[in-house]
């Protein structure tokens, strides 16, 4: 068991798809919450196996896409400072701010480094005690424990030259924001598997009940995604709205308790602006009192930031599932991965970029995605 190739099996995928086709009697709209799921659906062509009645819309679970422009501009300003080593996941370096991106800052002399883990940034802080090492702490609940550990260790070691620009966002408030939208089309959710590995899924039953939506915890491989879709469709067809776990090998109801404990020590809930969507109450994390000395926003006064979002970008509607990337007039024309108007065209899991890179064949049959 490698826990990978087994879940990419072609014949099993086709059996699952056949079962979905047998179950569907009328049109349904499902949202995969996580950008990693979007990436996998488009990359593998899972949508092409689905019956035309079934429409998948792509959710806001892409931290790169929803990090507010103001914070990107702050990151650019901090990264440009002499003496700063600015560390980021590779995902963030091409995300456009108002005027430029981190790559441009690097080309202009900023010390921008791509790291694999926040612990790599911490190592740099130990290695260069006379430099300020700033880590761009983005992500959902999956990434937060890693960032929390980096902060925890920095505090314990008294590493004074380490700080974090925090932009953590949370899944459940985003689901509720999507559900309460007057233009809501989503009838069921594929919940983000790795977020649930950390947080569990005990938070979801009240949401499923209140809004009458099935929520199926779903993984990322083709068979996982098809199984999540199959279970959501079965619920919808039977008129049920329950929470199910279709990713039991990696998710338990309670989640990872030690991770949750450190998260509670390092972070507290705060209102957070989502790029393209707006402020969602209690939808993000900021540092608690004890960790505020490590807040890069407080440590570096970058002055007033005036953000300019391209008027033609409709990423907000894409992130809320009311617009398909290719329905945007700018898609593939003035907005491409080379000249992105919005972050959804940059991140490899951004819905626009996923469509651009892995779009289905022109005129191909099937594909619930186009429904």
């Amino acid at each position: 068991m490698k826990y990978l190739t087994e879940f990419r099996d072609g014949p099993a995928a086709r059996s699952l798809a056949a079962d979905i086709r047998r179950s569907v009697t009328r049109p349904w709209v499902l949202m995969e919450v996580c950008g990693g799921q979007t990436h996998s659906i488009i990359r593998n062509g899972i949508d092409q196996l689905l019956p035309p009645e079934l429409e998948l819309v792509h959710g806001p679970g892409c931290p790169v896409c929803v990090t507010p422009l103001e914070l990107i501009d702050k990151a650019l300003a901090i990264a440009a400072r002499p003496g700063v080593i600015f560390c980021s996941f590779g995902d963030m370096v091409r995300v456009p701010g108002s005027e430029k991106d981190l790559f441009r800052v690097k080309s202009e002399g900023g010390d921008v480094r791509i790291v694999y883990s926040p612990l790599d940034a911490l190592r740099l802080a130990r290695q260069f005690p006379d430099r300020e090492v700033v880590f761009f702490g983005i992500g959902f609940e999956t990434t937060a424990p890693a960032n929390a550990m980096a902060l925890h260790l920095a505090r314990r070691e008294g590493l004074r030259n380490f700080s974090m620009l925090v932009s953590h966002v949370l899944v459940p408030p985003a689901l509720e924001a999507i559900l309460s939208s007057p233009t809501r089309r989503v009838q069921g959710f594929l919940a983000a598997g790795h977020v649930c590995s950390v947080m569990g899924y005990w938070q979801y039953p009240p949401i499923a009940r209140q809004w009458s939506v099935p929520i199926v915890v779903t993984g990322f491989e083709p068979l996982d995604l098809l199984e999540g879709i199959r279970r959501a469709v079965r619920q919808l067809e039977a008129g049920r709205a329950e929470v199910e776990n279709a990713y039991p090998r990696a998710v338990t109801e309670e989640g990872n308790r030690p991770a949750q404990a450190l998260l509670a020590e390092v972070f507290e809930a705060t209102d957070r602006a989502w790029r393209g969507i707006g402020v969602i109450p209690k939808s993000g994390w900021r540092l608690t009192e004890a960790y505020r000395p490590f807040d890069a926003e407080a440590r570096f006064d970058v002055g007033a930031i005036r953000t300019v979002e391209p008027a033609r970008c409709r990423a907000g509607e894409v992130l809320q599932g009311t617009l398909k990337p290719h329905q945007c007039e700018a898609f593939g024309k003035e907005c491409t991965p080379r000249t992105p108007l919005g972050a959804t065209m940059v991140s490899s899991e951004g819905a626009c970029a996923a469509y651009y890179h892995y779009r289905p064949l022109p005129g191909a049959a099937g594909g619930g995605t186009d429904g």
Partner: protein, 105 residues
């Protein structure tokens, strides 16, 4: 979000830089991974790794159960004799001798 990759724990160092670390093997490549959030994780266990952190222990029984269920669906397919539209008219493939990839389950 959240690229998580399954790997096998092959070594546990105990504390390094003040935190429980170990080595995880991903089909031949090896990476130091923080194990602090899975205190019960043992050598030989499989885990999902995200940005250098083991976030969950993979449960083999659940994985096997899922795969068993998928196989049963396949058998059901055959029993129903239902023709899969995707199989019936696959997109034209000009490569001679092409067959669907073999099952790895």
């Amino acid at each position: 979000m959240c690229l998580g990759v399954p790997g096998k724990v092959i070594e546990i160092y105990g504390e390094s830089d003040g935190v429980r670390m170990g080595k995880v093997d991903f089909d031949g490549i090896r990476k130091d991974v923080c194990l602090a959030y899975l205190p019960d994780l043992a050598v030989g266990d499989y885990t999902i790794v995200h940005v250098g952190f083991a976030i969950t222990k993979l449960d083999e029984a659940s994985a096997l159960e899922s795969l068993r269920m998928f196989r049963e669906l396949g058998l059901l397919d055959e029993e129903l004799g239902q023709v899969d539209p995707a199989e019936q008219s696959p997109p034209a493939c000009p490569i001679p001798g092409w067959q669907a990839p073999p099952s790895t389950a």
